[in-house]
Symmetry: C2
């Protein structure tokens, strides 16, 4: 509602609009003082929309995430924001994992933002095909859409993560190990499940389909999945849960059934949480630097916005690490193992 425009300022000082404009952009101007004074007195503030129309850029980046209430995504957003600096602001959209809403959001964002950082819910999404046509920079984070082969992405090393988690349970002597997976239509769901399978195979343990429950990354889903595992004739003695929300649900189920952890049931989660070392027992997890992941995504996007399609699509994977606490049985506390020690480096290794 900026009532006062640049021409008001110009008129008051007695110069042309262009002079005021140039004064604002830092050029040398004769009546600079008077102009600044008039600007202050009138309370003039440049209309960014008009400026954007002329310049063709908006200084806005859309961040499309499933649910900001999930601390993991909140960290991604925070990391991205910090990496954006003062040049770009963030437009946030929660999709609730609903593909229709994702499509709506993308459609609506195009032509209003300079780029999009996108956490899609499903790997196969036909509806998104026309998005690529439009030449708006896009970066996938955490998950991707399969038929978009030429798009930048910043994922985690989910395969190794799933493998490490399962391996850890195996090392504690478990053989009846279950996996509560995310949707197998999503990148992390699929990859973590693959890591689970690979670790079992390496130890020559045949997969029991009863011990594999595909869920939906939600608290409720995790709760139900754990409940169904507990109702098996011979329940597992250890569970690898594929994300933080489902782990919470699973823990609630264990608590409700008064099942002792780790004695009766060892549990390992994916993605850490500020409270994980306060719960009973402290939760062992596979973790990664979500902040970093968001920052890299933003950095990649900004390069793409500046540089266009000059460089080939990047496919970055950030490292995961094992944080051992108490929920898988006795080990020295707080041992941390990382897939590499380049974890904190912003220029993370680009693989494959």
């Amino acid at each position: 509602m900026s009532n006062v425009t640049i021409s008001d300022v110009a008129r008051k000082v007695g110069v042309s609009e262009s002079t005021v404009s140039r004064c604002l952009s830092g050029f040398n101007v004769r009546n600079a003082e008077a102009i600044r004074k008039a600007i202050k007195e009138l309370g003039y503030r440049p209309n960014l929309v008009a400026r954007n129309l002329k310049s063709g850029r908006t200084g806005l980046v859309a961040l499309i995430v499933p649910d900001i209430t999930n601390p993991f995504f909140a960290s991604i957003v925070r990391g991205a924001e910090l990496a954006a600096g003062e040049d770009y602001m963030i437009q946030l959209i929660n999709t609730g994992e609903q593909p229709e809403r994702e499509e709506w959001a993308i459609q609506r964002m195009m032509g209003q933002v300079d780029g999009i950082i996108y956490v899609p819910s499903q790997e196969d999404s036909e509806a998104m095909t026309d998005v690529t046509d439009r030449s708006i920079p896009l970066v996938f984070v955490d998950r991707l859409i399969k038929n978009f082969r030429n798009i930048d992405s910043v994922l985690a090393d989910n395969l190794t993560g799933g493998e490490m988690a399962t391996q850890h349970l195996l090392e504690h002597g478990h053989t009846k190990i279950a996996h509560i997976s995310g949707p197998l239509t999503s990148t992390p769901g699929k990859e973590r499940a693959a890591g689970f399978a690979r670790a079992l195979k390496a130890h020559k343990i045949k997969e029991d389909s009863n011990y594999f429950v595909e869920s939906d990354f939600t608290v409720l889903g995790g709760y139900q999945a754990m409940m169904s595992l507990l109702s098996l004739p011979t329940p597992p003695t250890a569970v690898f849960v594929a994300n933080n929300q489902m782990t919470i649900g699973a823990l609630k189920a264990l608590k409700e059934k008064a099942i002792k952890t780790p004695e009766k049931m060892a549990i390992i989660g994916f993605d850490d949480h500020e409270l994980t070392d306060l719960i009973d027992p402290p939760l062992t997890v596979i973790s990664r630097d979500a902040h970093l992941q968001g920052a890299i995504a933003m950095q990649t996007l900004l390069e793409r916005i500046k540089g266009g399609n000059q460089f080939p699509p990047k496919r970055i994977k950030v490292d995961v690490r094992l944080i051992v606490r108490g929920s898988c049985g006795s080990t020295c506390r707080h041992r941390e193992t990382s897939t590499s020690n380049a974890n904190k480096v912003l220029s993370a290794s680009t693989r494959s």
Copy 2:
């Protein structure tokens, strides 16, 4: 980067730009079919920036919060987004409780958004005075800035909350009760501390300045505060912590010192958390509906955007309630007490 404009479409069909424009806005147009076809073929998408310039509105609302990583603020944002519907999108800014960044953000937002929802960090902020001059709709959430008397706000009933928390500890027989407060320069910090004081007074317990630690709403702050309480010659037997982050810190301190809760130290927090019933012992808290608070804020803002300053400033307070778990001693589990039962109603009671 929308290369193709409305005039490209017009030329292709052989009509004027205005006809295409009217077709898009739903008017009856002779060659509607041909126009729609051309739009599809050319991949035309209206330039929202240009449209906004003409219409004078951007369809954007800024949400300025301290830290989206705090689940409480994440819920506020989520609630606000849902209340915004499809008409308004959300632009998110984290301030990290830094007043300079808040000021920068506000300055930058004005002229780019239609309204601002704002969680300020300090009650006295001189720097913000020129913000009111500009007639851009603004709503305070959770906290406010004092010298802005004529601005809408959606706060919580902090006074009652602080009182209820302290009262709860008193009912468990505690007399040596400490308070880890937020910054007394912030609305909730001040009001919750006032509630604490009022409850003590009502029970004729004189305040011990050793038992009052002013902290900063952060995990680290809560940790340090609890540590300092524990190092007192006669430590308190119960603590009321003024927000969720500090409570986490305080719990970490207790855990580190291996102090049993609630036997050696009862603790009650402010604001709930998905994990509070999984920690050991489950945490008793004062809680409120953050989702609702965000939704009401957005609703108020939209009314203000539409209606201007026709109606007087609203000062809304949402109710708080006590959620009893285990951290204050044995009571029946999961008892809930609310200041009123109108909690879930979107049109919350407007007081004072």
